[in-house]
Subunit: 301 residues, 2 copies
């Protein structure tokens, strides 16, 4: 009988192919470097249940209820979770909890860090978000699987166990973010991280027009924002002007075409909207410190 | 019948407790911020097998053989992998591969980034490492489980799928590092990442002597290195002097004691080797912008 597990296995068998899942341009450009710095991670069980008097949070805290009962108050609003639900406590929130007998939780506290740290770190949650909007939902089996792996790695204690635990926690973190209502996240956070965000839309726009010459006006118009706001956001996110970012995109595509096709340098220049092979080669060398021909000779995937 | 799976489940049931797994001081200090930037990730299958002519790598590449035959040459040395083994191709390596019919691989290429990027990025591999030492071994079932999750997330395509994929790749990355011979890794990389490294030993030393006053000489002697080398390493890793790093450790412990015990501020000062409550409070405020009393009032875990 073909159950969901055998379907899953079949899907996985099919996932091996000659095509890569992630390509250079995707992951280079889309990957945000907003990262949580974990302060504490706990798998907690309260055989007797208990309550925690009102306290204020100086870090973010994610609390996921695995089983049992959990009631709490955030900034005066009383709520209750069912297993598989969690709450993301905001920095500064006033929090007060009641845990039922035998309640089990996965919880961690964290701050955000941005790399490179330039214009500060965006808040995770939108301003004025209500406690109800801080509720998230997650696949409990998946989350508990991650918690189990963190625990197993704790027993193993190899030289890299701590970093493996961090990576697993990072997956849990993004799954929690994924489980929050999108409206609950701040614009700054979304702009840096989410697909469909400014970062992702700009990246898609560049890919779609990679054979063309785009002016600042063209880009701003396509994204439906002003030139100033385009330039500001671009500087904030990529530390370069929109034009420079577009050029980098073209050069990454050029690097790919040089290695994976037999197109001549002149043809590649044409495909990337360069009128002259010379201008293209100059831009390429500025980006990679190699001429297109040197790149093709050296850099074969 | 109690198989390994039921044992595993039992171990997991026991892992929920009132005690956190990771505590603040641990994860704050031990977590390296050397991160891979993934360029390409692929689950590749070659029904017909093939060969790739000699090429030079400009990124690191990890190739893990899941099934089938894989022979290759790195810098002239010919090798062969069995399933569950992988090879970490170094930047600059000359590489040439033969893949057998139906061979399946998990492969990704990456560069390293350091945050904050200060004194450059250490090489991953030790200088002069031989191709044999670039071989790693990994739990194939675990690695394939991670690959499957990356693939599943690719189908899902939510706003955070890309970042979830990155986190899973990061776990795979650290498991591969864990599977390499330790001697194959460069000192700079180990110093920044591994437990038992300079970073970890310094952190342990601080924890063990947190009630004392340690001079630069004391610390250098305990670690068996010179004062200059201690200061240099500390600046390199933490961007502060050894004394400042020790002070930060004490203040983190102070923050913990204030919230989790009923010790007076004077008692906590004493426990951290401060002769005067005043000097302690001043150091505390310098670290957290709050007085110990304010911290205690506001910051309850």
């Amino acid at each position: 009988m073909a159950g969901p597990n055998s379907e899953r296995r079949a899907a996985y068998r099919n996932c091996f192919s000659a095509e890569p899942i992630l390509r250079k341009a995707d992951s280079d450009f889309a990957a945000g470097r907003i990262l949580p710095r974990f302060k504490r991670l706990a798998l907690r069980k309260y055989p007797q249940g208990n309550m925690v008097p009102p306290h204020r949070h100086l870090d973010y805290e994610a609390v996921l209820l695995c089983s049992g009962a959990y009631r709490f108050r955030i900034n005066g609003t009383e709520m209750e979770l069912t297993p598989g639900e969690g709450i993301l406590v905001n920095i500064g929130d006033q929090h007060e909890d009641w845990r039922g007998d035998g309640a089990k939780f996965i919880g961690f506290s964290f701050t955000l860090e941005a790399f490179p740290a330039t214009n500060g770190i965006p808040a995770l949650l939108a301003p004025g978000v209500s406690p109800q909007e801080q509720r998230f939902r997650i696949d409990l089996k998946e989350a508990e699987g991650l918690a189990r792996k963190i625990y197993e790695e704790e027993q193993r204690q190899t030289a890299f166990s701590r970093l493996i635990q961090e990576a697993i926690s990072l997956e849990l973190f993004w799954r929690i973010i994924q489980g929050l209502p999108r409206e609950s996240l701040s614009t700054g956070f979304l702009d840096n991280t989410a697909d469909g965000s400014f970062r992702a839309r700009l990246s898609r726009l560049f890919q779609d027009h990679i054979e063309e010459v785009l002016t600042l006006d063209d880009i701003a118009k396509q994204l439906g924002i002003s030139r100033t706001s385009l330039t500001n956001k671009c500087n904030e996110l990529f530390h370069m002007s929109p034009g420079k970012a577009f050029c980098r995109c073209k050069m990454e595509r050029a690097g790919y075409l040089l290695v994976n096709t037999r197109l001549t340098v002149k043809e590649i220049a044409g495909r990337l909207g360069y009128a002259s092979e010379f201008a293209f080669s100059r831009a390429f060398r500025r980006e990679f410190n190699l001429s297109p021909a040197e790149w093709r000779r050296n850099y074969i995937y």
